[in-house]
């Protein structure tokens, strides 16, 4: 059990975004979280990654309680994340963006940067760059390393964000709608990428609206609606679940 969400609730002012959500994510699996818009999926991700405080309940990762832990320390523990709307660093190149993934695993501070007495690059800097390049090539964007991140087309920006998260060497990857805005060919590429990451032993928690993608690649699916978990199981169990169908399509009316 790499991630345990124990009766987690989140309240924003008067609005209850999540209510008593309980979920167990098994290590090495691909676990999807689906549900209509506004169900609370991204809120859940925000709570896991630390962007917002948990109102009630606990989240445990690799045996550690995340509740009061600052976001950058959660990254250090091994949680990587991509965003619904791509959040790359615009004033940096693609490679520099990806290199940032290794920030919490490296040490060079201001002092070492300024006071180095040889003209050669720091050893750590060299390994960071090679490591980042490796992950950039893994997502297929090696040649674009020195371009400004903001110049890339949307789908490629998403891949850069993924490479950046991978450089963190996370055990758990939170992917928030990675296929949004992708055409079928790009989506297939994404599918292959996720499968490869999973083969490496990474646990993937996935928010997606593309049902083909979700049903094809996930081992477990949790369904949220109005801030509560309404169903959970493997793809075929979830597909046949009447509560899920009702959430997406509405109640079956008499006479139809």
């Amino acid at each position: 059990m790499i991630l345990e969400i124990r009766n987690v609730g989140k309240v924003y002012g008067g609005f209850c975004a999540l209510h008593e959500v309980a979920m167990k994510v098994e290590e090495g699996k691909i676990h999807a979280v689906i549900g209509p818009n506004g169900a609370g999926k991204t809120t859940l991700f925000n709570l896991i990654s630390g962007m917002h405080d948990i109102s009630s309940g606990e989240i445990w990762f690799k045996g550690e309680r995340l509740n009061e832990l600052k976001p950058h320390l959660r990254a250090k523990l091994g949680i990587g994340r991509t965003f619904q709307i791509v959040r790359l660093f615009d004033s940096l190149t693609v490679l520099e963006n990806v290199m940032l993934g290794r920030h919490c695993k490296t040490k060079a501070g201001l002092f070492k940067t300024f006071f180095k007495f040889s003209l050669k690059e720091l050893e750590e800097e060299k390994t960071t760059r090679e490591n980042a390049l490796k992950w950039l090539e893994f997502v297929g964007l090696g040649p674009k390393a020195d371009q400004m991140a903001s110049n890339l087309p949307h789908a490629e920006q998403r891949l850069v964000e993924m490479a950046r998260a991978l450089t963190l060497e996370p055990d758990l990857l939170l992917l928030d709608e990675p296929a949004a805005g992708m055409n079928p060919k790009e989506t297939m590429g994404l599918n292959g990428l996720m499968a490869k990451m999973n083969q490496m032993g990474k646990t993937i928690l996935l928010i997606e609206h593309n049902m083909q993608l979700v049903m094809g690649i996930s081992e477990t699916i949790s369904v949220l609606n109005f801030g509560e978990k309404i169903a959970e199981g493997n793809p075929s169990e979830v597909q046949d679940n009447p509560a899920v169908i009702e959430a997406y399509l509405g109640k079956k009316r008499r006479g139809n």
């Binding site: 990654s49 630390g50 962007m51 600052k70 976001p71 950058h72 990254a75 250090k76 994340r81 965003f83 959040r87 790359l88 660093f89 615009d90 004033s91 940096l92 520099e96 290199m99 940032l100 993934g101 920030h103 919490c104 695993k105 490296t106 060079a108 501070g109 201001l110 940067t113 300024f114 180095k116 720091l122 750590e124 800097e125 960071t128 400004m148 950046r164 998260a165 963190l168």
Partner: protein, 280 residues
């Protein structure tokens, strides 16, 4: 000739001030307080030289360190504050410093602190510091912390999720910026031979920001260019001197419309690199 050297010296000091603004700016912290830190550095180093007999270099360094410590203290509450509210905080700080020095008898109060021994080689010390800063910023750009600073400036939340300790990054940048401003103040004090609170008002803080924004904020050469050019221009055109602040205003408006990144941008550097390569 003497006159030009004097202008060049002031330009050098102002380059240091523009770079002191640039440092916290990298992490997204826009500070109107750099003149305040300059004042702290100026007064601290003046006290060290005049009252305690400390020699020049340690004295200036002392000014920088005191300013850096004040920067750290101010940087702590500044962590939670963004945008215009940070502008107000740093503006308030600058004013508080000014008022404190107006009332501080030990350093001459409103009359100012006279009798600072003149440093004949201020020009060299100023540009020596500029040289050190050039090395610092160029090394920073290609380093782990440099990337972290830029990331924090671009998107704080995403940087934090990625594992960057944004608290420590912002605090570091703010303190180092204050330190640099303090050094500028120390060098300034030993050039002017006296310091008074009036020299470190809000309009000076604004000027440093104008230098950096006009010169270009994509790369550290921008503030250097901006401070140098805008310090020399008024010396050659009398009309610029009279209408200096008004012209700054017009300049800023025009720049923001035509070329928001400032005169020197990443494209400028790349263009220059290509030109250099063609020549070979």
């Amino acid at each position: 000739m003497d006159y030009l050297l004097s202008v060049a010296t002031v330009a050098g000091i102002y380059i240091i001030m523009a770079l002191s603004f640039y440092m916290p700016f990298l992490t997204g912290q826009i500070s109107l307080g750099q003149a305040g830190f300059m004042a702290v550095g100026a007064y601290a180093s003046a006290v060290a030289t005049v009252k305690w007999g400390v020699p020049y270099i340690p004295s200036v360094l002392f000014g920088g360190i005191v300013a850096g410590i004040v920067g750290f203290v101010l940087g702590l509450p500044a962590l939670r504050i963004k945008g215009i509210y940070l502008l107000l905080l740093t503006l308030g700080f600058g004013e508080i410093v000014r008022v404190i020095f107006i009332n501080l008898k030990y350093v001459g109060a409103a009359g100012g602190f006279p009798g600072i021994p003149y440093q004949k080689y201020t020009l060299f010390y100023a540009y020596g510091m500029v040289f050190i800063l050039i090395i610092f910023f160029s090394r920073l750009r290609k380093s782990r912390m440099g990337r972290a600073f830029q990331a924090v400036g671009n998107d704080e939340t995403a940087a934090e999720i990625l594992g960057v300790n944004i608290t420590s990054a912002k605090l570091m940048a703010f303190s180092v910026g204050a330190f640099i401003a303090g050094i500028g103040g120390g060098i300034f004090a030993h050039f002017q031979e006296y310091v008074e609170p009036l020299m470190f008002g809000v309009m000076h803080a604004v000027e440093f920001i104008v230098f950096a924004i006009f010169g270009g904020v994509q790369i550290f050469w921008g503030p250097i260019f901006g401070a140098f050019v805008l310090t020399f221009m008024p010396e050659f055109f009398r009309i610029i001197q009279t209408w200096r602040m008004e012209l700054y205003g017009v300049l800023l408006i025009v720049m923001m419309i035509l070329r928001p990144q400032g005169v020197i941008g990443l494209d400028t550097i790349q263009g220059l690199k290509r030109l250099f390569q063609k020549a070979h």
